[in-house]
């Protein structure tokens, strides 16, 4: 008899399943540059179960009881919502004063919060954890007005964190442009490769000595040819890989990048390829493009504005590379006649490039545990 205690319970519960509305909170977020305004409606019943509102335990929640618990309500809610703009945490604070709103299934507390982000962001990541520890069927229903459009989202115990892109093309452009530029600046291998590759445009190793470029014009023309070849090749594989048209194994790509760094370094010390250097630049551009596409894939392309994002990322990558070239080439050009510059900067620098390339190659191709300072 005892083991059938749940009988009526189970049989009955079918036809009447979900006859009530389940627990929801309504989160309305409006973004205006770096400021965020939040209206958060949370059911009084839910707050009562979570933190206790019915002070006199008479089964009725009065406005006086709600007001008394204002600090507790604000602290409870604030601790369960995190917003980050462009991966940087925004500060959230509840405004003093609560309000009440009528919903289809009862009254809710309306909490107003103000947020301040470090920058006017174009990507927001929202981390929502209200009530999930108590009620696994609770959902947070989000309405986000941001960048000229309104987006909605649902937070659930298995979907606590969600990221939203600005629907505005300029916002997408800015985000992906910065990500592209940032990726190049962070990637020591790409930087070293470029420094090594562009060196011969101003100074060439010839029969035991260095031969300076005759004029700035020649140097610039050679540089431009290299940059163009490298960039075009680079953009081609980046676009192909990012669009999913092909996906080369990352170990192979990363090893080839390392090999290209080693080659660029060696080629300056012991010249192997001197003519039609742009062909070499183009070939290595293909490899580096495929490598950088990996970062873009990790970042993900937005559903809307894929082309804009891809273009922005590419332009970010190219401009960062050009910025490096714009520093390296004139510097080397200026110091091309100075023996001190060559012996103290150029030769050791080129050696470092070659050694780093070798180390990376061993590390990536053979899995050797080599520690590098960058």
């Amino acid at each position: 008899m005892k083991r059938l205690l749940l009988i009526a319970l189970l049989l009955g519960s079918i036809g009447r399943a979900q006859a009530h509305k389940a627990s929801d909170s309504f989160l309305r977020v409006t973004v205006d540059a770096e400021r965020i305004a939040i209206r958060w409606d949370i059911a009084l019943r839910d707050l009562d179960f979570a933190i206790g509102l019915d002070g006199d335990a008479d089964g009725a929640i009065t406005w006086g009881e709600v007001r008394t618990e204002e600090a507790a309500i604000a602290a409870y809610a604030e601790g369960r919502l995190k917003i980050a703009g462009d991966t940087r945490r925004c500060a959230l604070a509840a405004d003093p004063g609560l309000a009440i709103a009528e919903h289809s299934d009862g009254r809710y507390v309306v909490l107003s919060l103000d947020g301040l982000c470090p920058t006017a962001a174009t990507r927001f990541s929202i981390d929502y954890a209200l009530l999930f520890d108590i009620d696994a069927q609770h959902r947070g229903l989000l309405n986000l007005a941001f960048g000229g459009s309104v987006q909605t989202g649902v937070f659930a115990p298995d979907r606590r964190q969600q990221t939203f892109e600005s629907g505005r093309p300029s916002g997408i452009f800015r985000t992906y442009f910065l990500e592209g530029a940032w990726h190049v600046w962070k990637g020591a291998d790409h930087m070293l490769f470029l420094a090594g590759l562009f060196l011969p445009a101003v100074l060439r190793r010839k029969k035991g000595g260095w031969e300076p470029a005759t004029s700035l014009g020649t140097a610039l023309r050679d540089t431009a040819a290299l940059v163009t070849a490298f960039t075009l090749a680079h953009a081609l594989t980046l676009a192909l890989a990012a669009s999913g048209a092909f996906s080369p194994p990352s170990r192979v790509v990363e090893s080839l990048v390392a090999a290209s760094v080693l080659f660029a370094g060696l080629n300056n010390l012991l010249p192997m390829v001197q003519r039609r250097l742009w062909l070499l630049a183009g070939f290595f551009g293909l490899i580096h493009g495929a490598a950088i596409a990996g970062a873009l894939l990790e970042l993900g392309l937005p559903v809307q504005g894929r082309v804009t994002a891809l273009l922005a990322f590419n332009i970010g990558v190219e401009l960062a590379q050009l910025a490096l070239v714009a520093v390296v080439v004139p510097l080397c050009f200026a110091g091309r006649h100075s023996a001190g510059f060559r012996n103290a900067v150029l030769v050791p620098g080129t050696l470092i490039v070659a050694l780093a390339g070798l180390a990376w190659l061993l590390q990536r191709a053979l899995g050797l545990p080599i520690a590098l300072p960058f």
Partner: protein
């Protein structure tokens, strides 16, 4: 610039798919009652006890036996109040074990119950099959599986589990409800009705809850056989027991309201649903009664129902409300074409007589006789006796000729 963006923000809010809520306001009276913890005192007390148990559990979240005790109590309350919040409480407490591929048997049974409540019938059956496979004498699992199979319109498969209950001789009334519920759907309605009546007479020691459940099942069987007077006697007996026990039973109230509405007794239906509108099913019956009576409160009920269905859709819970949404769309929104879509999708998961009736009625209103072929096939396959179902089917056949 700040002014422009403020204007844009205001416009955005207007353009947004607004959540159905009033404008926020600040009450002026501290004594104003904003909400009841629970509509009935008994539920409020049970809820307080549950909350105390939760706080103890929160200090020992890995204590399986405490988590099970809490989850059982929560599920029981969820059934009594038809409130999915309680099922959510149970799910949270059991979370560490629910995630296991092979959880302890007790947790597995509760997981099946929770899955069934979310209308994940396939998931529930997988759990129950595994449980019964390793413990064929688990009567609770047998009864739950029989119920899920009946909801899916598979009475023939449910019979084996009901027979296992009968052979165990542990609870005659429960076994009787199980067996007769199956046989009332497969062409043995008269015998099933008699048998359940007899079982009720022979189980004077059964609990009020079990009797209410058996009487409701009996009343529904009698209604299907076109015996409203006999059905009403059983409904009233169940309601009297309910009133005496102080329990709450939304399922009984919904069935009773449907009975009254079908008998063109909208005023009575209105009266019994008036204080129950927190429950979606009963709010829907309340609105149906208001509609039949031309009651001015209808507009407000419709707005509330609209909001609840919209919010369920936003949550991603639409599948759970298909039966109600079909009924709402057919009878109150009077949009048979859309209602037919809901009713057909509902038939994919739920196949009780009420679901069949709904699909036939909707197809008739939408003049889409072809849509009901699966229901007609099901009626032939099961041999179900249901006066209204057969009348509807005859009308549809006449119309398509």
């Amino acid at each position: 610039m700040p002014r422009t963006s403020a204007v844009v923000a205001a416009l955005l809010l207007l353009a947004a798919p607004a959540f159905a809520a009033s404008e926020p306001y600040v009450p002026t009276d501290d004594g104003a009652v904003l909400e009841r913890v629970a509509p009935r005192a008994a539920e409020a007390a049970a809820l307080r006890a549950l909350n105390a148990q939760r706080r103890v559990l929160a200090r020992h979240p890995d204590d399986l036996s405490q988590a099970i005790a809490y989850a059982r109590k929560a599920i029981e309350l969820g059934r009594a109040e038809a409130d999915p919040r309680y099922h959510g409480y149970a799910e949270s407490a059991l979370a560490p074990w629910l995630a296991l591929g092979d959880p302890p048997p007790t947790v597995r049974l509760l997981r099946a119950t929770l899955r069934q409540q979310r209308h994940d019938f396939t998931g529930a059956l997988a759990d129950l099959d595994a449980l019964i496979g390793s413990h064929p004498d688990d009567l609770q699992a047998r009864l739950t599986r029989a119920t899920v199979l009946m909801v899916q319109g598979r009475p023939a498969e449910a019979l084996a589990d009901c027979n296992a209950l009968l052979n165990a001789r542990s609870n005659l009334l429960a076994a009787a409800v199980c067996v007769t519920s199956v046989r009332s759907l497969d062409g043995h309605a008269a015998a099933a009705t008699q048998a359940l009546s007899a079982a009720l007479d022979e189980s004077p020691a059964s609990t009020p809850g079990e009797r209410i459940w058996a009487l409701t099942a009996l009343a529904e069987m009698l209604t299907r056989q076109g015996q409203p007077a006999a059905a009403e006697t059983r409904f009233r007996a169940a309601l009297a027991l309910l009133a005496a026990s102080g329990e709450h039973d939304p399922y009984l109230l919904t069935a009773w309201a449907d009975f009254l509405l079908a008998g063109h007794r909208a005023a009575e239906a209105l009266a019994i649903t008036r204080d129950q509108t927190r429950i979606d099913n009963l709010l829907l019956r309340h609105a149906l009664a208001q509609s039949a009576l031309g009651d001015p409160g209808l507009a407000d009920s419709l707005a509330q129902l609209d909001a609840r269905f919209t919010e369920a859709g936003l949550r991603g819970d639409s599948a759970v409300h298909l039966r109600e949404e079909a009924l709402f769309t057919l009878k109150l929104k009077r949009d048979p074409a859309r209602a037919l879509d809901f009713a057909m999708r509902n038939w994919q998961s739920q196949r009780e007589p009420a679901d069949a009736r709904l699909l036939l009625e909707t197809a008739l209103a939408a003049q889409q006789a072809a849509a009901v072929q699966p229901v007609l096939d099901w009626m032939t396959r099961t041999g179900i006796e249901d006066a209204e179902l057969h009348a509807l089917a005859a009308k549809l056949k006449a119309g398509s000729r």
